[in-house]
């Protein structure tokens, strides 16, 4: 008998987007997931906590995105040699890697058959779990080689190509194992965790007032999204109202981040499609934007711009003018480049039908963000759950049905144009109040959520406070967790030389998922 989660006692959760928290038992853990799946809820993230010091057990949390709210489901497990909970991967395949990561870090397991490690490669003993509270995070262990058990594909003419962790370009490390026949990809299996830096453990020794600096560095290309999500969680817990000016500037910074990354990706995609001119042009436009960032926000990349209570640097009238000049130069350049890309037969031949992710596959596997929008799924937190100041901007949703590299290129073009519009609206009437409010120390044991639509998709951060302004637990989630497994599907049947192009069209974060 399925339990309707609405019968459970919901409690409002501090967050920048309407959120509720439900406590469930072991049976209800799976039942709520089933009910939510039927309601087309998306899995946002999973995280665990070690609460043995408080009430003698562990907790597991799952956050789901519904059209009307975010639902956080919480399940308590008694302390035992290996606490376990029912796997959600049958309903939400994206949960699998998150659960495996949690087993590595917490020593809490599921009933899932795939029990291979995900984030632990042999760098610390298998009997020790870094996110348990009695684990000394500063201690170092000698690395022991622990080869990953890839699934092998057998048959006439099948061979394997191993790529990584060190790649041939200036990109992040990860391992890809291709099983191919001739040039055709039969199977791709990813193995990640190479950039695992123990961010979650570090949060436990950071103060509430400085946690945003660490959050910004979970994935450097999404620094504004992560630091805003952190600050939104902290501000929700402490009921701090940010000045309207600070919120407008945060949105401006977030859109600049989206613009910078989309411009960079469009150039790289042209280059990977054999059209170096595209890289030259777009990398120039991106550089123009970054140089304007120095004058407007004080840095090329806004690692420490969003701070608790507001932003670090005020926007001057001169900087406002420079930004508007930038947008005036960007827009015609972009329109012209879009025309060049669209009409370039060689480039379109590489883009179209390549790396296709069907909408049904994307739905089943739980795609989110930009990748989902390029496979016909309408989802964007800025549109569906607008938080301030997006609630007054009416952002336009971009959707492309194709699901191929060409569609992911078009989504980027559309989103750049929409971001330019949003930036101009934001600059047309920047509120004149301050740029920062004081954030009081939060009460211990409070849980808050921050959710921001970064350029890749929803960035979610769950913050639990400790005593005296400390952080008890902070879980930062990058949308790459959900979308990386989709790359394994998108390359099926494609040729190996198209992999860099397909991979770039997703452009997912290694650091964001490794943590």
């Amino acid at each position: 008998m399925a339990t309707d989660f609405m019968e459970l006692q919901p409690a409002a959760l501090p967050a920048n987007i309407r959120s509720h928290r439900f406590r469930v038992n072991r049976v209800q853990w799976l039942q709520t997931a089933e009910t939510l799946k039927r309601r087309n809820a998306r899995l946002l993230t999973l995280w665990g906590t070690d609460d043995r010091d408080r009430d003698g057990g562990f907790r597991i949390y799952a956050a789901y995105l519904l059209p009307e709210m975010v639902m956080v489901v919480e399940h308590f497990m008694d302390d035992s040699p290996l606490p376990s909970y029912p796997s959600l991967a049958g309903l939400y395949p994206a949960a699998l890697r998150m659960q495996r990561g949690m087993t590595d870090l917490f020593g809490i397991a599921t009933d899932e058959a795939d029990s291979r490690g995900w984030l632990r490669h042999g760098g610390w003993p298998q009997t020790l779990f870094p996110l348990r509270r009695d684990f000394d995070g500063s201690r170092q262990y000698p690395a022991v080689s622990a080869p990953y058990a890839f699934v092998s594909v057998e048959g006439d003419g099948v061979h394997e190509i191993a790529v990584g962790p060190v790649h041939a370009g200036t990109i992040e490390p990860g391992h890809f194992r291709f099983s191919v026949v001739g040039e055709k990809v039969l199977r791709l299996e990813e193995s990640f965790g190479y950039t695992h830096k123990g961010v979650a453990k570090l949060f436990e020794s950071a103060s509430q007032q400085e946690g945003h600096r660490l959050a910004a560095r979970v994935s450097g290309d999404s620094a504004v999204a992560f630091s805003w999500a952190y600050c939104a969680a902290l501000e929700s817990i402490t009921e701090t109202a940010c000045p309207a000016r600070a919120l407008a500037l945060r949105a401006l910074a977030l859109e600049q981040e989206r613009l910078a990354n989309h411009l960079g990706d469009l150039g790289a995609l042209g280059n990977d499609g054999g059209f170096a001119f595209g890289l030259t042009q777009f990398s120039r436009l991106k550089e123009d934007l970054l140089r304007t960032n120095i004058k407007a926000f004080g840095a090329r990349y806004l690692m420490d711009y969003v701070v608790p209570g507001g932003v670090a640097v005020d926007l001057t009238a001169d900087a406002r003018g420079l930004l508007l000049d930038l947008y005036d130069a960007l827009e015609p350049a972009l329109t012209q480049m879009r025309c060049i890309y669209d009409e370039h037969a060689g480039l379109q031949d590489r883009f179209r039908e390549t790396g296709r992710l069907e909408q049904a596959t994307a739905e089943t596997l739980g795609a989110i963000g930009l990748v989902a929008r390029a496979s016909g799924i309408a989802c964007d937190l800025r549109v569906d759950h607008p938080w301030a100041p997006y609630d007054s901007l009416s952002p336009k949703l971009t959707v492309q049905a194709g699901g191929d590299v060409a569609a992911r290129v078009q989504v980027r073009f559309d989103e750049i144009l929409e971001s330019l519009r949003l930036c101009r609206v934001l600059l047309s009437a920047v509120p004149q109040d301050g740029i920062r409010s004081a954030v009081p120390m939060a009460n211990p044991g409070a849980l808050g959520i921050g959710l921001v639509e970064g350029w890749r998709g929803p960035v979610m951060l769950a913050l639990e406070t400790g005593p005296n302004g400390s952080i008890r637990r902070c879980h930062a989630h990058d949308p790459s967790w959900q979308n990386w497994p989709l790359v394994e599907y998108a390359v099926l049947g494609n040729i190996v030389p198209d992999f860099p192009l397909i991979n770039k069209s997703f452009n997912l974060s290694y650091s964001g998922q490794d943590g």
């Binding site: 500063s138 690395a143 961010v199 030259t280 991106k286 550089e287």
Partner: protein, 172 residues
């Protein structure tokens, strides 16, 4: 095609002079002569991300945009450590990347240089040293020069590369 040509003409040549390695800025010709004396050809760089947040990668990628045009100055990025004179390493060295970094370094022919990029490459940055991080690059392989910043600007990275390879006499 007309659009492409017209865009090229509108853009023109944007390449800027190289930032100074020391107190005196080398002109392109001097620098290329020096590079030829040291490595006998274009300087080849291999980049390894040893666990960074990917911020430094963005700035390293910018080195080849039309403004910095590093390849135009005779410094190019190569795909194999076997072809590299200089290793550009970003990030605190994660425990999971320690072996890969060591093996990349060992695969390079002598003489070789190592430049650690970013605050993390220098000392571990916000990630420091932990169960998952060995801290700065120098804790794992020998480092010739460190470019600080979070992330360091492309100009700072170029200066760091030039300072590393230029003969000691001409260093600031």
């Amino acid at each position: 095609m007309w659009n492409t040509l017209s865009r090229m003409l509108q853009t023109g040549v944007l390449t800027e002079p190289l930032p100074a390695a020391g107190q005196t800025a080398p002109d392109l010709e001097t620098m290329q002569t020096e590079l030829l004396e040291i490595v006998g050809r274009a300087l080849c760089i291999r980049h390894v991300d040893a666990g960074s947040c990917n911020g430094c990668e963005l700035e390293i990628q910018a080195l080849n945009n039309p403004y910095y045009n590093l390849e135009g100055a005779g410094i190019k990025f190569v795909a194999s450590p076997r072809h590299a004179d200089l290793l550009l390493v970003t990030g605190p060295v994660s425990v999971n990347m320690e072996e890969a970094l060591q093996r990349t370094y060992n695969a390079m022919p002598d003489p070789k240089f190592v430049v650690a990029v970013g605050d993390c490459g220098g000392c571990g940055g916000v990630f420091g040293t932990s169960y998952a991080s060995r801290g700065g690059v120098a804790n794992v392989i020998p480092v010739n020069y460190t470019v600080t910043g979070c992330p360091p600007s492309p100009a700072a990275i170029i200066s760091g590369i030039l300072r590393t390879v230029r003969p000691r006499s001409s260093r600031a």
